[in-house]
Subunit: 352 residues, 2 copies
Amino acid sequence: MDVTMKDVAKLAGVSLSTVSRVLNDSSLVREETAHKVKKAVKKLDYQINDSARILRTNTSNLIGVIGAGMERPFLANLLKGIEAEAREKGFALIYGDSDGEFEKEQNYLNIMKQKKIDGIILITTNYYNDLLNIVKNYQIPVVFASGYISDPEIPCVTVDNVAAAYDVVDYLTRAGHKEIAFIKGPDLDLLASQERLRGVKLALRIAQLPYNSGRFIEGDFTFESGYSAAEKIMRKFPKITAIFAFNDEMAVGAIRYLKENGYQIPDDIAVVGFDGIELGKYTLPTLTTIEQSGYQLGLKSIELLDKIIAEEELEDNKVFIPHKLVVRESINKLSAKELASIKNKEVLVTNN
Amino acid sequence: MDVTMKDVAKLAGVSLSTVSRVLNDSSLVREETAHKVKKAVKKLDYQINDSARILRTNTSNLIGVIGAGMERPFLANLLKGIEAEAREKGFALIYGDSDGEFEKEQNYLNIMKQKKIDGIILITTNYYNDLLNIVKNYQIPVVFASGYISDPEIPCVTVDNVAAAYDVVDYLTRAGHKEIAFIKGPDLDLLASQERLRGVKLALRIAQLPYNSGRFIEGDFTFESGYSAAEKIMRKFPKITAIFAFNDEMAVGAIRYLKENGYQIPDDIAVVGFDGIELGKYTLPTLTTIEQSGYQLGLKSIELLDKIIAEEELEDNKVFIPHKLVVRESINKLSAKELASIKNKEVLVTNN
DNA sequence: TTGTAGGCGTTATCAT
DNA sequence: ATGATAACGCCTACAA
């Protein structure tokens, strides 16, 4: 078997407890003794047995992450942010993908509980309401990182999807677009996509444009679904002048369809995405989009979770990360005057 | 504290060992007793304490994954494949990103050892030689999933990078391209990028074209590096007719530069990528590339690792996943006759 | 078929 | 300042 504290104690000529004290930097140990122990640790290349420690202390320095569709660039960066900040704070990560299925989510929740995780980050949108109950029951610190959770007990970190979607439509209408179609996310997505929908509706109402549910085509956040949604849109609504896709991949898929079929972007059709993934800077035309940082989202999620685990007082358990509309080639820019009218507009959208 | 086996035993009116037997489906337990126990388990919502089990059995059903740059679409899919197959086989995942830094890799290796992982998957290319030594020392089953490892003791799963890169250049030369430039990976990447380089050199030699190291521009697998590499290439080698980028993102970055500067693709410049990420089907022009499945790569890696953990006899500890050259709009297709000359060619490249 | 008891490697509570 | 000892929750001989 592996080297244990016992071996270290023997080599250093001290007792088990002393070794333990040294390893946990207890102050009540003579420097000389500590030195002996450390030497023995190094010599034997001793590694602590985490299971034994966890069994005894009931704290694991382990954070569980349950996600879905994490191969999407935005979410891949989210995971990267989570990992980096977790490492920084001394946590290791248990990672599971739920494919958006409730059963798998439950399953991972159980596994993670069995491993005595200190906290959990949920990046999942379909059955979050059902999850909420389980999670509350489990009494494990949790942070949602996939949208706004209205339950006041549940901490979450997210972009302000309503405001961001509002900004997009607001910009488009001020640029003169009256006939806009939308590629929304899956109806199963109860968070981000629904929130963006609300932002869109709000902006349409303010601009006194009609809300026509037929113009919202369902996609699933893939290139392919953006492509085929664009096809549907142009067939059903040939008079459309702008398309707002609820993520960048769908927007890129739509652009491919449009260009393939002879539409000029932005002159015939303006296209806007959401997320601000790197790709958007390298398409032709480059992609106008809502820029938000997945990495930042991940980082903030761990930060919040860490505070909850440490039982610190929270300022707020709802955290928003910044976003901004980045206007690139896929839409026509507003004139300076038109732009000013936006800058001065009153804040119409609040965070709920 | 949580519910333990003791509580279950008491409620079911049996002893601890009986409960343990039931939970591990030992055959030596009366069905009736088993039923009682299971009822108690359900009633109390008992969850095993994994740390205690691991401490006792010294096996964790935990697999460690150390990667770098996992936000790249190909690698994100690799992780997805790993996760799916690991779950299928009853493993949970500990995931760590090394940023390609040796120190972080070492660090995670230690952490994972402390957690008594059953095996480890390494997706890292920079210092793999240094890692090898540590890993061998640790005596933990390992699989490399990022390139061919020549050390016969070390299992790995990978695409045949040499053959694939050869295929690309072979196709280009037969299509008449004599002036080809390359966007390679980081020189620090000691695996995939180096192997592709070898495939390229081989094909150039066979085609009796000169090898000119100046025509290999270093990139880092990002869009941005592809863009700026293309810029360098066109400035230094205006007579170039084809660019082969060692991954799809760099190819897309290059395409953006070329189109932005008035080059027609493929007529002025042909462009080929590597990986076959989904995006390549939606660019304009669509991207010619080597298609390999990251998901499949992940799946096979776990499959192999699982066999090693179970101490099954291996057919081979070097596993190759399939690849194929997918010709899309970014290069001109070969005529049927030219194509035939490839199909009939003798296999010039072997797997080492 | 079931129960008893010892031990996995730590930490924490007592003494000393 | 250090050491002996009892848990933590589980598995597994061995005994019954």
